[in-house]
Symmetry: C2
């Protein structure tokens, strides 16, 4: 491999942070000349960035090939029809880039390719003997994010590996899923990421079981929980275990009380404990039933109101709500909406009034009413009386009101019990690196992917879908390895193994730096030689910004026969005899 010289390399480091940089990886990838913004959420890859990207791609490709996956590549520009069939043309809403060709035909830029893979397998295969099958692609994808952010972490054009498995039955899918899960573990390990595998919701993908691989990061967009006993889930997928029903036979009848000025849960609890104290213990915020109104907007533009009832000491978690109601979106329930629903007394909404149901499809309001799993039969609540400045106490679920069902969207708190009994939950943040789904038959049904089974009958194929964000992985590795001086790549992903530089203007230093660079390169290392006529300070700074794992500094020690070997990640500087430096660096690079 030829030595690359800094004077020729297409790179410039920047002294200033880019104005839109929110996270360290974004800041340093731009400042170190790895990427450049072309438009919001859309980036160009410069030579250094492309080298790292190619290494990440290759790791993912190798692990896919290792599990027998075969590589294909679909277009990014896709016709509308298959996505229309599965409803995703509509369900993706504004997240989908849509366009028309010169003949007026509808196209989209593919956000994920379930439909295309399903149709391709339908095109080629027809028998159970052809299965199981695993296909993958590494390809550019598009999503018109409302808030592209954090550089490559949430882009609108990005590179993903997506793969798909095809099996005859659920058992086969489970096997394929486990194999993929194993491959993903290997990929995450090779990327050197600190990650957690969490239970996940499948969102717009449909399907039954799914897990996410989250890289742990304090500024990650995703919140997840884990317990000492090993439970882990993203916050959308956490489930609350409903308590056992309560015997309400001795609970007093509902009592409406006047609660002027009780505009918060705290003031309400105080007021109720004064006016209508509970016999066994004081009322707490967890005994209040807060009823929150949302307007749900479906992808086709239709709207429907929804009231969520939950313990007043918790708020609705918007991400959990969005996951629960997808593909609908929650928009504000405005003054006009309240005006159109006179049964709702803002601030005093409750499920019953004078023994009559006020919330629910069959109630006076006719609005769908779903409640938190903790609202089990027999529990007694303090809630709105549907009259201004009034609440009702001892309103008992199942006795005094009914609901349209359960919705598990209250915020999860540290200390909440894990649903599997494995202890109290801890909350942390991460970035989704991979997502594996048991799709089941959703896409195969919709698009007619059936094969002949062993009895000669047509059977619908069972699918899995699996994604890893390749460009996001580049950012995430940068994010978790960089420091306040720049990038600091792990050796297996670094754009160069080593940078060699002369610290001083003397020609002997430049000559020796070049000699060492050539010798390292001749030994198979990928070498960057900083041959610029720049000060040692500039070269040191740039070497650190670029994040090359090892730097060889040829400086004043040369007269004594020594050069310096710096380790970017460890922060160490060792003096090494000039005759030993090549062997030392090779050993460092190869991990010997």
């Amino acid at each position: 491999m030829a030595v690359t010289t800094m004077s020729q390399l297409f790179v410039r480091t920047l002294r200033e942070d880019p104005a839109d940089a929110e996270v360290p990886s974004h800041r340093w990838l731009v400042r170190a000349g790895y990427i450049r913004r072309a438009a919001p959420g859309i980036y160009s890859w410069l030579p250094l960035g492309l080298k790292v990207l190619a290494k990440v791609e290759q790791i993912v490709r190798e692990e896919m090939v290792a599990i027998g996956a075969q590589e294909v590549r679909f277009p990014a520009l896709l016709p509308r029809e298959p996505y229309e069939t599965t409803h995703r043309w509509t369900e993706y809403g504004p997240n989908l880039f849509r366009l028309k060709d010169r003949k007026g035909g509808d196209y989209l830029l593919g956000p994920t390719h379930e439909e295309m893979f399903t149709l391709l397998v339908k095109d080629l295969y027809g028998s159970y003997k052809d299965l199981p099958l695993t296909l993958f692609q590494i390809q550019t994808k598009y999503r018109d994010e409302a808030r592209p952010r954090a550089g490559l972490l949430r882009g609108r054009e990005f590179i993903m590996k997506d793969s798909y498995t095809f099996d005859m039955d659920a058992e086969g899918l489970q096997r394929s899923y486990e194999i993929h899960r194993g491959a993903y573990i290997k990929v995450m390990d090779r990327l050197g990421l600190d990650y957690v595998i969490v239970k996940a919701m499948s969102g717009a993908m449909g399907g039954s079981a799914s897990e996410e691989f989250l890289a742990i990061a304090p500024n990650g967009e995703d919140t997840f929980v884990r317990s000492p006993g090993g439970y882990a889930a993203n916050v959308e997928a956490v489930t609350v275990v409903p308590p056992a029903p309560v015997d309400a036979s001795s609970t007093p009848a509902p009592l409406v009380i006047h609660t002027p000025g009780a505009g918060t849960i705290d003031t309400l609890v105080t007021a109720v404990n004064e006016t209508a104290p509970r016999a066994d213990r004081p009322w707490t915020g967890a005994d209040t039933l807060k009823n929150v109104v949302f307007m749900l907007q479906n992808p086709d533009g239709t709207k429907e109101a929804l009231i969520v009832g939950l313990p007043g000491d918790r708020d609705v978690d918007v991400k959990r709500l969005e996951a629960a109601i997808a593909p609908a979106e929650a928009v504000a329930f405005g003054d006009a909406d309240f005006a159109a629903n006179p049964a709702l007394v803002k601030g005093y909404i409750g499920p019953a009034k004078d023994g009559q149901l006020m919330l629910g499809k069959e109630s006076a309001s006719g609005i769908r009413y779903l409640v938190d799993p903790r609202v089990v039969d027999g529990t007694a609540w303090v809630t709105g009386a549907n009259v201004a400045d009034h609440h009702v106490v001892n309103l008992v679920a199942g006795r005094d009101f009914t609901t349209d069902g359960v919705i598990d969207v209250a915020e999860v708190r540290a200390g909440d019990p894990a649903p599997d009994g494995s202890g109290p939950l801890e909350l942390a943040r991460g970035v989704e690196m991979g997502h594996i789904f048991q799709l089941g038959t959703k896409y195969a049904e919709a698009l007619g992917l059936k094969v002949l089974d062993q009895n000669g009958k047509l059977a619908t194929v069972t699918m899995g879908s699996y994604g890893i964000g390749i460009s996001r992985a580049v950012a995430m590795v940068a994010e978790t390895t960089c420091d306040d001086r720049g990038l600091a790549w792990p050796r297996n992903l670094a754009p160069f193994d080593v940078v060699v530089l002369a610290a001083g203007k003397e020609p002997e230093l430049a000559a020796e730096a070049q000699r060492i660079a050539l010798e390292l390169s001749g030994s198979g290392l990928d070498v960057l030689l900083d041959d610029r006529k720049a000060s040692p300070g500039v070269k040191f700074t740039d070497a650190e910004v670029l994040g090359i794992p090892t730097a060889v500094v040829v400086g004043r020690g040369l007269v004594n026969g020594v050069v310096e070997v710096r380790d970017r990640t460890a922060g160490t500087k060792d003096e090494v005899g000039v005759d030993d430096v090549v062997a030392r660096v090779i050993a460092d690079v190869r991990g010997e």
Copy 2:
């Protein structure tokens, strides 16, 4: 490398041609399971196709790196602004895929990236010391072709290598251009294509000099010419050398004659030779001046009429016309247009009437009038008299009429002289594989790419732009190597080096086939083992359709210790001792 088994490989060969297949490469790439159509002009790559694509990509990448080009990658989804600045947002007309994002911002799918490269270099570089610079990318491009055809040969989503050079001056550009030209020659040679380098027009790219690399193909879309003396140009770029002016002092005055029924050039020539014979020789079709009216439509929607005058024995070549008037397009000049221009007498249009100019911006019609280069001063013409059923003879250019200039768009014919005097032209057809352009300063000027020169003054950078169609190259190699039995890849591009198959049901045959396959694979060859329980005929047919260069057939000869080695391209079948077969195949593959 592991042996790939046919039973596992994601491929199915088809017995029928796809309905839309116009050329052999399209037919066979689909039938052999290399590609599948996703939409018009948009294809998915199956495993075999992707393997060939990767090999072509790698050849191009190696030759780019060999000339010091650095790889980058731009997005495909691009913002409108830079393309607005260079007018290409409009000039590309309906060939550009345009779309809006969720905020109403205008985007395009990049057809080529001059603007983005120019801006990137402007972003990073600022001094003459940084130049020369060569950058390249291998990336997916989009063009909304009016008539996508021939599979990968003219697609709407396709893969290109595009590269760009940046120099201080024309001399530097010339040097960079020559270096790129050399790299392209190496690429074409490594692809094994029979090609010609022709002078070309630069079309929508702008710029001064350009050449095309055309793969010679009888059903190619591009016509080119070449002379025995080495002249070569595509038909758009051929130039007619104007004859010397003629002394018209003894040419009689114009004479209007009645020519009823002379509706064709032939009948006109006959009529004129009877009515107004020429003194020195008979009139021929080449003496008639045909005036053809076009309506030009500009990308911004405005229209302008144009009359092209050319010798009546030639037609206007639509491709030459389109190249000459780009970015405008020629549309029909309809009856309504004639009605709006009463000065034009359909069928009898001529440049003058009664001593008055009828064609040209300053004439009675006011319509721009451009003529073939052969219409030099002093030449005497037979042409329309602007009166129904009448023509005029001896209308002399420069004496009796003037024009608005020259347009060189007449059809080129075999036997026409090469413009450089190198002999008569021969016409042939080809497919554009590469195009190299000396852009000059067009993009750098428009986007403000200037660097400090040696005197500390800002100087505009001079650019070159160079493209190779990667996906098109896959198709073109298939096109020029396939036969009536299927694909026949050259060894350096084949998806597998060798296919091994057992011709017969006996377990010994399968076992021996597997042993040979493993041994070949162990020697570093990429081996496909046809392990299917299929008839020998099916296996033979598929091996030929897939186009694997070498097939090892383990058949009834095994009892006598021989197997058969078939060469797909040569069509040979050799019996080889079973102990020698591995060495023989390795020698074949390595070209020893």
